[in-house]
Amino acid sequence: MCLDVIITLLKIAIVFGFVLNVAAILSWAERKQSAVMQDRIGANRADVLGFRIFGLFHPIADTIKMLTKEDWVPPAGDAFIHTLAPFLALFTALVVFAVIPFGDTLHIAGRDIPLQIADLNVGILFIVAFGGLGFYSVVLAGWSSENKYSLLGSIRAAAQLISYELALGLSIVGVVMAYGSIELDDIVRGQGQYVLGVIPYWGIVAQPLGFILFFTAAMAETKRVPFDLPESESEIIGYFTEYSGMKFGAFWMGEFIEVISVAGVVTALYFGGWQIPFLSNQGIFIPGLFTIPLPHLLVVLLQVSAFGLKVLFFCWFMLLVRWTLPRFRYDQLMAFGWKFMVPLALVNIVVTGLIKYVF
């Protein structure tokens, strides 16, 4: 009992430590990535005793700056809700990671430890439910600021999040049909099979269209370019106009944590989670040719780091997209969501059903 609690706490510490640290590094990586893409030098000024290490001290410098800034609440606004909103933003972005499996079951000292914080039997639905609550942070932030521009931003965000949540949910249905389970654990395990003996049966193989739809909708949920209408720094500045100090920092961190969550969910659903092709529990395994046995701990370690690397890859990919594309116009955004994504997601479900029925 006591040991179980300690193990669970340890898992929470590992996962949230990873997520929060990557979020901090992403805040630097985003600036550096934009600099590289725009042929500038980028964030490299913060130094400690003359050491710069590519500007990796910037996240620390930013945090100190934001913590020491004046925390200002608009006098006409609502102080309680104004304070509540950034916490909600952080909470909803972080809680998604509770159900994402980051490794296979670890057998150690006669114990089976599933490398997943909470193995809920509603799996994906939990992500949809609590990811959707992020809506409230945005809307409450805009409303409680008592500022027309903030309100405009949050109304845009509300319309956008509701529209794209539908496409998001429908594209997940395809994955659930393909692997016959709604638990993320089973879905990742299902991706360890092989098509024709050689191609790993990952989500991208089973659901190519579903992957594109999910990724697009999930990027819209993160409210980043090209879907950054709620923020639109060049027109309305967005729902957090009236935030300063660490409360603004919380929204900022929340955005990066959302990026990591999306990368984590995409990895788990479409890119095999912790699976490495041709690496099974027994070791490296080439079908029909040979097997190289590997110790269990090494296999688990490789799988966990594979999951981490995949997540980092998708974070980087989303930074690339963010600095490549321009912003949608509002009516384009709505039309794209309702008239393109949703019908396509429905078609994807029908096609998946037909394929499941035929084979």
Binding site: L120, N121, V122, L125, A129, G132, L133, W143, S154
Partner: protein, 166 residues
Amino acid sequence: MENLFFYIAAILAVASAGSVILQRKVMYSVLSLIVTLLAVAWMYAMLSAPFLAVVQVILYVGAIMVLFLFVVMMLKYEKTEIQRFRPGLLWCTGLLVAVFFLMKLIYVVNRASSLTPKVATVPPDFGSIKSLGGVLYTQYLLPVELTGILLLVAVVGVALLSGIKK
């Protein structure tokens, strides 16, 4: 342990439900209602109905309350609004509703206290998506389909009302 969690959820649900009607500001009423719905979802989860709990969060908190919030956000609440109601009429209706629900409550509590609790074993797949789906699409197929048609009519109605101007 389970009792403790139940009482926390129950107190949270009742307190926030009270807060819904006691708050002066509309936005706080909406937020209290969200807390109530979340607390009820918590109870579903403890009654080994995780699917129902999550659907409660997705549908009520994630969709219906969003509409409430939208309306509150768009409308500026004016002090003069409340003066348009006739206070006597409000009191009368309130009293009638309160008496009705009190009688219902007494009836339910009376019935419940006369029953002896039965200890039933819960089947292992109780409340899972598979068992729920099985029941919905065999035993209750007709009501499910009829509800689907009802919702479709509502969607078409909204599309019509919002007006495709040509």
